[in-house]
């Protein structure tokens, strides 16, 4: 049996377009210090470190873990650097969890940071992450690969641009009550629908910004938690699925999953739910923090998490199911659509879910939240993670 593991501290910087007052090191330290403070620990208490940083080329610092690790004062303790693209922050949490659950460490600090604005155009960098032989020269990037998903959703499920827009409007409404969020100005359905096409059918307000910021969490074993902590976000389930880089393999007649859907996320969720004993997610999950950098991706995710039937995610969004006060509030933080410090983004989902079940989410607190789910996605929509957090072990 794995050692029961909980998140006992969360630290986040504000997410902004630029942070010219700090280096990437200093940014990581800022979030780490806050997480340790929230956990009531000092750096000396930590047994092991996990750093999440996505492609180095976004920062323009190769092997940036060497620089951040030093700043955290890890010596002489173990340090891991994790990179699974957009999933990076969640994969780093997965590695931190493995440290504690396996009994290798009692207290682990997981930190992820990014300064996406220091490269001129993230999409150019993300294009270099495509297959260099067959696909890079066709100008694929993170935005148009998600547009491809939206097109298939529209074709198979008649998802509408208005349904997509409802996701953006709700997310922005929530971002207004999250002081960390990058984009907070109110937007209307009309604003979203009138915004210019970036990659059809996704418009500017269907898309996330690129942000700078850092997030850290402290994880501890049951022994530590019982002795030292009055409240904790217990990791009750963790599932992860990976699949091919080739999106075309999820479209042709030979496909086993469809690029319109996130069956891979559904598989990760099934695993996490089974571990957590969740059989009826709509009623048993109180709040969800979903990795959705584009409106269409949230629709695929709510279906994969079992909140809506396949093809119904857009309709349910439009009907208000995922609003604060709805059946399953989604992204009280404002989500990725309103802050995307790429390396840290998936860890932010976990951090926000942890704050919810700890009752520490401030103005964005879902009253009485006991169970939360957090997801991550990365690569060419090929890496998926799902974590269930609860206020009881």
């Amino acid at each position: 049996m794995p050692t029961k593991t909980a998140i006992v501290g969360v630290g986040q910087t504000d997410y902004r377009f630029k942070r010219t007052d700090v280096t990437i090191q200093e940014l990581a330290v800022e979030a780490s210090r806050k997480a340790l403070e929230h956990a009531g620990m000092t750096l000396a208490d930590i047994d092991a470190f996990v750093i999440g940083v996505a492609p180095d080329a976004l920062l323009g610092i190769n092997a940036v873990d060497r620089w951040i690790g030093e700043a955290l004062g890890v010596a002489p303790r173990p340090l891991l650097r994790v990179n699974t693209g957009g999933t990076t922050g969640a994969a780093a949490a997965q590695a931190g969890y493995a440290h504690v659950a396996s009994g290798v460490a009692q207290r682990v600090l997981v930190v992820a940071a990014d300064k996406v604005s220091e490269s001129p155009d993230a999409q150019w960098v993300l294009n270099t992450a495509m297959d260099p032989i067959y696909e890079k020269s066709v100008a694929l990037n993170a935005i148009n690969m998600c547009s491809l998903q939206a097109v298939r959703q529209m074709d198979q499920y008649h998802v509408t641009e208005k349904q997509l827009a409802s996701v953006a409007v709700r997310s922005r409404k929530n971002a207004q009550i999250n002081p960390h969020a990058h984009l907070r100005a109110p937007i209307s359905l009309e604003d979203v629908l009138a915004s210019r096409y970036v990659c059809w059918p996704l418009k500017l307000l269907d898309c996330c910004p690129r942000s700078s910021g850092a997030c850290a969490v402290v994880m501890a074993s049951e022994r530590v938690v019982r002795k030292e902590h009055s409240r904790a976000a217990w990791i009750r389930g963790m599932g992860a699925t990976s699949n091919t880089i080739y999106m075309g393999d999820k479209m042709g007649p030979g496909r086993d999953v469809d690029h319109a859907d996130w069956d891979e996320l559904a598989m990760a969720a099934a695993r996490a739910y089974r571990q957590a004993g969740i059989t009826d997610p709509v009623h048993e999950i109180d709040v969800a923090e979903i990795y959705a950098p584009f409106t269409c991706t949230e629709i695929a995710a709510v279906e994969a998490l079992g909140f809506a039937n396949k093809g119904m995610g857009g309709v349910m969004s439009e009907q208000g199911m995922f609003e604060m006060g709805g059946a399953v509030p989604v992204n009280p933080s404002g989500g990725v659509l309103n802050a995307n410090p790429i390396s840290a983004t998936a860890l932010v989902r976990i951090a926000e879910a942890a704050l919810q079940v700890m009752g520490d989410a401030g103005d964005r607190q879902v009253p009485g939240a006991q169970r939360a789910v957090a997801t991550g996605i990365g690569g060419t929509l090929q890496f998926h993670t799902c974590m269930v957090l609860a206020n009881d072990a």
Partner: protein, 157 residues
């Protein structure tokens, strides 16, 4: 230094990565590109286990984890599986607008991405209707080919 003495904004130091790579594409992609360049044909590789015809071809089937041996010509016609029309300029990427589609070429079991050309993209709604999932396209081969994916593009039929 006293905090108050700092009156200027934090300094910015610029840097640039300019690194050249020579990617060996491997024997499978080499055969694919030579056939494309010299004969104007698109070929996939068949998995002996699941019988899938992988386009673009790969030396092994990811799902079955077996080596692929048999070559199968596919296309030149095919069916649109997904598309996007890019209207936003991105550094290092082509001048917009341009359309990209994943197409299952006839005989293949997977879809391959390429540009869709010879199509007016000025009105997004009109262009999107023409590129609808299920519509038919044909691969058009460039006159001067160099053994790269961009040796062909898709055109609506």
């Amino acid at each position: 230094m006293n905090q108050k003495e700092q009156t200027e904004a934090p300094l910015i130091h610029s840097g640039e990565w300019k690194i050249h790579y020579d990617y060996a594409v491997g024997e499978t992609a080499t055969q694919f590109f030579l056939r494309l360049r010299d004969q104007g044909k698109i070929a996939g590789k068949k998995c002996p286990s699941c019988q899938g015809v992988l386009v673009p071809p790969r030396a092994f089937c990811e799902r079955c984890f077996v080596q692929t041996e048999e070559w199968v010509d596919v296309g030149p016609e095919g069916t649109i599986e997904a598309f996007t029309i890019v209207y936003e300029p991105f550094d290092g990427l082509p001048e917009p607008p341009y359309a990209v589609a994943y197409v299952t070429l006839d005989g293949a079991t997977t879809a391959m991405a390429n540009f869709v050309r010879a199509l007016d993209l000025s009105d997004p709604e009109v262009a999107a209707r023409q590129l609808a999932v299920g519509n038919r396209v044909e691969a058009v081969f460039a006159d001067a080919r160099e053994g790269a994916v961009t040796d062909f593009y898709y055109r609506l039929m």
